[in-house]
């Protein structure tokens, strides 16, 4: 899991392994060791140890995207910068960080000769806190006075954004105000219109409203709340060294910002890959059945519904959903089709894979089908063994550490912050649909591409024969029992078949087909009739089991050969509509015969023998005599 760093031993051992990897020149291996040993919420000593070790890793050798980040702050952020470099790497960036001198934010932005502009960053992080917001409200002030004070404070920010936009082509990351835990007015600070918390909440709302494209607000207040407002600041380190938040929150702040930057700079995750059993519902669908799984009823059933709702909301904001489950396909689909408490529906899922293959292979297949990189995928599975396998086989796939209790699934997924974005548009909302459509095209194309290989792999061998005592009953049976693949719907007795076979102008032949899986037996019967220079196909009945295997093309070749043998110039095909044979209404069109006309009930086509010197492409070979 990401973060077994509950004890210092965990990250110390990882640092030792990372050092060994570095000594062997393996920078990627060193980074992987460090990444696996730390979580954002781990304390500062852990973060610092990992950041120190990471400083020796050549980030350029990791294949990460270079990113120049300038941090301008009214508080001490040196420790944050070191830790941020590591978490930016975890989000896909090889970052170079410029720190403006302590508490020189406005000067640095306004002075065109400041180090900021020499650095030419792609991201400018205006790391402000409630202390820097500059919201000054007198107790007892009117609502209008509060609004004026807030708007003046927001205007100071927008003025800086404008200067940065004029001078740099950079994304501005602007902190909002972390609302302080303690206030002399207590509850009134958030209850009175002039209270400091009321004013800062208004400031945060107006800041969000004022941010133009190119400015992303970093919701520092939310990070503070998640961390725990009561411990968010450590006044000892404010008084001693002007650290604006508790040092132990450093990893949480850095990772949250790195996630937001990944989303803003196009490195965000795109697709959520979901397991089914004990992930979307409780129990095993293959054993328990649709009626037996835990979903919707009971506390655990409700927890799975809540998780599905969260996933559905992700889909609606543009996250692509995929299913990768070890199950029989029909069983896996059943709850989606018929369980009344399923929130997710089959059409929410862009790629649905239920099979018994290795999940790492199946996930790779999902990425290819969607035409997105593995680093765009997030994998959710309750089974630690599957998670471990995917982490090892596909290190760029983000694997969510699901807790045992489904009640905590939502927070595990949400707090991983995989789907952060700087903005949201109607286009995002539609994106999941585009990907789903594209996945269907890719699957069709792939099916077509693979079809030739599949058919060749079948090693189909056909035997063509006439009417003999052994085959006569079977020939008559196929003619009289076939419904779907039966062009003219002819019904004939054995006696009639014998007579047609013996007549000069008609011939009857059958086809048997074997493949590498076994003998399919007698699968087709044809009755041909010569009429002058035309050879008529009076009967063509075939077993539907062999449909789509180019057996039709093989038979067409056989008809053509017989036409040539008889000196016929053309082959005439006929389709007589029956209640069940719509399947073959287009057969002659597909084979390239020219329509001769007819009506709804009966149509005819012909083909000039000379037009098809090479016949049709088929994967069926003729058996050696």
């Amino acid at each position: 899991m990401h973060g077994t760093a509950d004890s210092a031993g965990g990250s110390k051992a990882a640092v030792a392994r990372a050092r060994a990897a570095l000594a062997a020149g393996d920078h990627a291996g060193a980074f992987a060791e460090l990444r696996a040993a730390i979580r954002p919420q781990d304390d500062f000593t852990e973060q610092a140890r990992i950041a120190r070790a990471f400083a020796k890793v050549d980030a350029g050798a990791l294949g990460l995207r270079p990113l120049k980040v300038a941090v301008l702050a009214g508080s001490t952020v040196d420790h944050l910068a070191d830790v941020l470099r590591f978490w930016l790497a975890a989000s896909g960036f090889a970052a170079e960080i410029y720190l403006a001198p302590y508490d020189t934010v406005a000067q640095t932005v306004l002075d065109p000769a400041s180090g900021l502009y020499g650095f030419a960053p792609q991201v400018v992080w205006l790391f402000s806190t409630h202390r820097d917001a500059g919201v000054a409200v007198e107790p007892g002030a009117t609502v209008a006075e509060v609004e004026a004070a807030v708007d003046a404070a927001v205007a100071e920010r927008t003025a800086l954004w404008r200067v940065l936009a004029e001078r740099l082509d950079a994304l501005v990351l602007q902190n909002n105000a972390d609302i302080p835990a303690d206030d002399p007015f207590g509850n009134l600070a958030g209850a009175a219109p002039w209270g400091m918390r009321t004013a800062l909440r208004l400031y945060n709302a107006r800041l969000a409203a004022a941010a133009p494209a190119g400015v992303a607000v970093f919701d520092l207040d939310h990070v503070a709340g998640l961390w725990g407002r009561a411990r968010w600041t450590d006044p000892r380190y404010w008084h001693h060294s002007k650290h604006a938040f508790a040092p132990d929150a450093t990893g949480t702040v850095a990772a949250a910002a790195a996630r937001l930057l990944a989303g803003a700079m196009g490195l965000g995750k795109k697709c959520l890959v979901l397991d089914l059993d004990n992930t979307l519902w409780g129990g095993v669908i293959g054993d328990d059945g649709v009626a037996g799984i835990a979903l919707g009823t009971g506390a655990d059933g409700e927890a799975f519904v809540a998780f599905q709702r969260h996933v559905k909301a992700l889909k609606e904001r543009g996250v692509i959903l995929a299913v990768v489950s070890k199950n029989e396909e029909a069983a896996a689909r059943a709850p989606f089709e018929s369980h009344p408490d399923m929130v997710l529906r089959l059409d929410d899922i862009a790629v649905f894979r239920a099979n018994w293959s290795n999940k790492a292979d199946t996930i790779q297949d999902v990425a290819e089908t969607l035409s997105i990189g593995l680093d765009s995928l997030v994998f959710v599975d309750d089974n630690p063994a599957e998670r471990d396998l995917v982490r090892r086989a596909l290190p760029t796939v983000e694997v969510i550490e699901l807790p045992d209790d489904p009640a905590h699934y939502v927070e595990a997924l949400a707090r991983a912050g995989c789907f952060e974005a700087a903005a949201f548009s109607a286009e995002d909302r539609r994106r999941a649909g585009y990907y789903a459509d594209n996945a269907r095209r890719v699957e069709l194309k792939r099916a077509a591409v693979d079809m030739d290989g599949y058919l060749d792999g079948l090693v189909m061998v056909a035997t063509v024969g006439g009417v003999d005592d052994f085959h006569l009953p079977r020939i008559a049976q196929l003619i009289n029992k076939s419904n779907q693949f039966h062009l003219t719907g002819t019904r004939l007795t054995e006696r009639e078949v014998e007579r047609l076979a013996a007549a000069d102008d008609t011939e009857v032949f059958h086809v048997r087909l074997a493949d590498r899986f076994g003998d399919n037996g007698l699968i087709a019967v044809l009755i041909l009739r010569r009429d002058g220079e035309d050879l008529h196909v009076d009967t063509w009945a075939m077993s539907c089991r062999v449909l789509g295997r180019t057996v039709e093309e093989f038979i067409a070749n056989e008809i053509l050969a017989r036409a040539r043998r008889r000196g016929c110039r053309s082959v005439v095909g006929r389709y007589v509509k029956s209640p069940k044979n719509a399947l073959v209404a287009g057969l002659y069109d597909r084979l390239g015969f020219a329509p001769l006309g007819g009506d709804e009930a009966e149509r005819r086509w012909s083909l000039a023998v000379a037009d098809r010197p090479d016949g049709w492409k088929t994967h069926v070979r003729v058996a050696e005599a």
Binding site: D43, T45, R52, Y237, H239
Partner: protein, 81 residues
Amino acid sequence: MTVQDEVMARLTEVFRDVFDDDELTVFPAMTAKDVDEWDSLMHITLVLAVEKEFAVKLNAAEVGKLENVGQMVELLARKAA
């Protein structure tokens, strides 16, 4: 082994970890001047690591006064007692 010796041994491990130097020798008279990397920023990192190792919270005044190993040992030994 006195309490001071034990504190010194654990402190040595913390210093070696923070300054990323397995050979670092820590002695009572040692100050920030004796370690190149021991600047005001590393001092914060060091104090936080010490707080964690000894499971203590130093007060705001103590945080700034620990730029001498001997003082640190005395303070920690007193807090441990």
